[in-house]
């Protein structure tokens, strides 16, 4: 059970003077139940890449296999794929359109052709799973705060019972409290519902704490992949392409240069604290 991306390339406006090669022979594998981070700055191809994973964009060349099946096969049902691979776009609250939050969450399951009882059950469950306050279920979405709207939008995708959930910068524009809530929520969904989570972000610090594995995109190519600490070892190269490693990574390297024997792989505040204390002999 996995997603395999095999040498996928993609061009925008292929047969015109404005041709832009957004992806160049990207190959990667995502296993079931992983928490994946995709990092890259604006224009690195990360958003283009994820739109391939549920068939919204079709690769100019290359193949994508979902659970062993080529999604570009003629008899492959893309609608089915979109049910299994849920996608939460950037600023997803902008897609809300129903008169109540509950109704909006029902939109996805309705499109799946489920019966009324099942639709409502799923909507209810999904809103619960994103910790949306029950007294707001039947309120219009337009009065909510940004963070609350975003929960409704995520619930809207969750209610479709996806096996994989892709989120494009789900914390953009939120304040730190809202950001921590959303990221915590994702970790919880992965843990409790066993959903594969793919998180697109440009913040290394956010990602370092939550993900199992990182893909770094640059100029349409896959630059690095691996556990956060392995990727951050390349902090100098990352900086060259405009991506900063977490502050802690820099700090560890600077301390090491000054002769303090700390673990360079520490990426979170907690890890840093442990290794500094150890190095200081406390």
């Amino acid at each position: 059970m996995s997603i395999i991306v095999d040498k996928v390339s993609y061009c925008y406006s292929e047969d015109s003077a404005y041709k832009v090669q957004a992806l160049k022979e990207v190959s990667l594998t995502i296993e079931d139940g992983e928490f994946i981070g995709i990092i890259g700055h604006t224009g690195s191809g990360k958003s283009t890449l994820i739109q391939h994973l549920n068939g919204l964009l079709k690769a100019t060349s290359g193949h994508i296999y979902y659970n062993g099946q080529d999604i570009y096969d003629e008899d492959y049902n893309l609608k089915d794929l979109r049910n299994k691979v849920g996608m939460v776009f950037q600023y997803p609250e902008h897609q809300l359109f129903e008169t109540t939050n509950f109704e909006d969450v029902c939109f996805g399951p309705k499109n799946q052709g489920l019966d009324k009882k099942e639709i409502e059950l799923r909507a209810f469950e999904a809103l619960r799973n994103v910790h949306f306050p029950e007294e707001l279920f039947y309120q219009p979405p337009f009065d909510l705060s940004g963070g609350q709207k975003r929960r409704v939008a995520i619930a809207g995708v969750l209610a479709m019972h996806p096996e994989v959930l892709i989120l494009d910068e789900p914390t953009a524009g939120l304040d730190p409290a809202g950001r921590d809530e959303i990221l915590g929520l994702l970790a919880q969904m992965k843990r409790e519902l066993g959903i594969t989570i793919i998180l697109v972000s440009h913040s290394m610090e956010d990602v370092a704490e939550y993900v199992d594995r990182l893909f770094v995109m640059n100029g349409g190519e896959l630059m690095y992949e691996g556990a956060p600490k392995d990727v951050f070892r390349h902090y100098k190269e990352l900086e060259e392409v405009g991506l900063a490693a977490p502050q802690v990574t820099y700090l560890m390297h600077e301390l090491k240069e000054k002769g303090l024997n700390v673990d360079l792989d520490a990426t979170t505040v907690d890890e840093a604290k442990q290794t500094i204390l150890a190095a200081l002999g406390r």
Partner: protein
């Protein structure tokens, strides 16, 4: 996708046409349209084609870019042409089926109509391609300023137009995003009958309107913050002033229309 629509988007370049006063270009476009509907016969066609080619060359806008804009209206062209082709009776009929027929007159009107429409679109989009929306509205504002006397809010209309033009590409991109987001939630825009298709637009239109209103609100505030207070007391960064080339352009375009009219009168059936 929807973002490929380039028809009429400003194309920055440093050309004589770009530098012309927008009032000249508006006037020229008007006369050009008149010429399109006045001309008859091969001579007039050659003259107009020559004029158009010259204008495009002088504008330094790549022909490819202009033609790409035509893609957006291919459907409209095909429909218009087929109506003319299939419904016009003529002297010689090649084919007849019910109300449909293909006749010599039908073929001629269809071809003429296609040429007129394509030339019309190339010509008018050449104006918007070489004139920034702001210049365009400035030109309109100035050309229409006599209407102020009969209480037409010319400045407000011009400002609304220029803002609309600025936000069209943004809203198109936004439509694209919302469509994809709803597709990811299983929305289907391609199948079903007309009523089902219309219903499928609701999840796109509602968020689009909400967003447009939010933007309007933000923009109004940003304009106020920059001391916008209507048209009174404003100065212009780029005030419109005629130069020698503008005067020449006026003469050229008037001469062009005169020539088209004269050709119609004196050599109407040449070719």
């Amino acid at each position: 996708m929807i973002r490929d629509i380039t028809i009429g988007q400003y194309y920055p370049a440093n050309s004589i046409v770009h530098k012309l006063d927008p009032r000249v270009k508006l006037f020229a476009t008007l006369l050009y349209i008149i010429a399109l509907f006045v001309y008859k016969g091969l001579a007039g066609f050659i003259l107009i084609t020559g004029f158009l080619i010259l204008a495009v060359k002088m504008s330094k806008v790549p022909l490819k870019f202009i033609l790409k804009g035509l893609k957006a209206i291919v459907v409209l062209l095909v429909i218009t042409a087929s109506f003319n082709l299939l419904l016009t009776p003529g002297e010689v009929t090649f084919f007849k089926w019910g109300v449909f027929q293909v006749s010599d007159t039908g073929i001629r009107t269809a071809v003429m109509m296609m040429i007129r429409l394509i030339y019309l679109i190339i010509g008018t989009s050449l104006m918007t391609l070489t004139t920034t929306p702001n210049q365009l509205t400035d030109g309109l504002e100035k050309s229409l300023s006599p209407l102020n006397r009969i209480n037409v809010p010319v400045h407000a209309i011009a400002m609304m137009m220029s803002i609309a033009l600025r936000f069209i590409p943004i809203l198109i991109e936004e439509t694209d995003k919302i469509m994809k987001a709803q597709m990811a939630r299983g929305a289907d825009f391609d199948h079903g009958n007309i009523i089902q298709k219309a219903k499928a637009m609701v999840p796109i239109l509602v968020p689009l309107f909400v967003s447009a209103f939010r933007r309007a609100d933000d923009l109004a505030m940003a304009m106020e913050a920059r001391c916008y207070n209507g048209g009174t007391g404003r100065t212009k960064m780029k005030p419109l002033k005629y130069t020698a080339s503008d005067r020449v352009a006026y003469l050229v375009i008037i001469g062009f229309l005169a020539a088209v009219i004269l050709l119609r009168i004196f050599v109407p059936y040449f070719g």
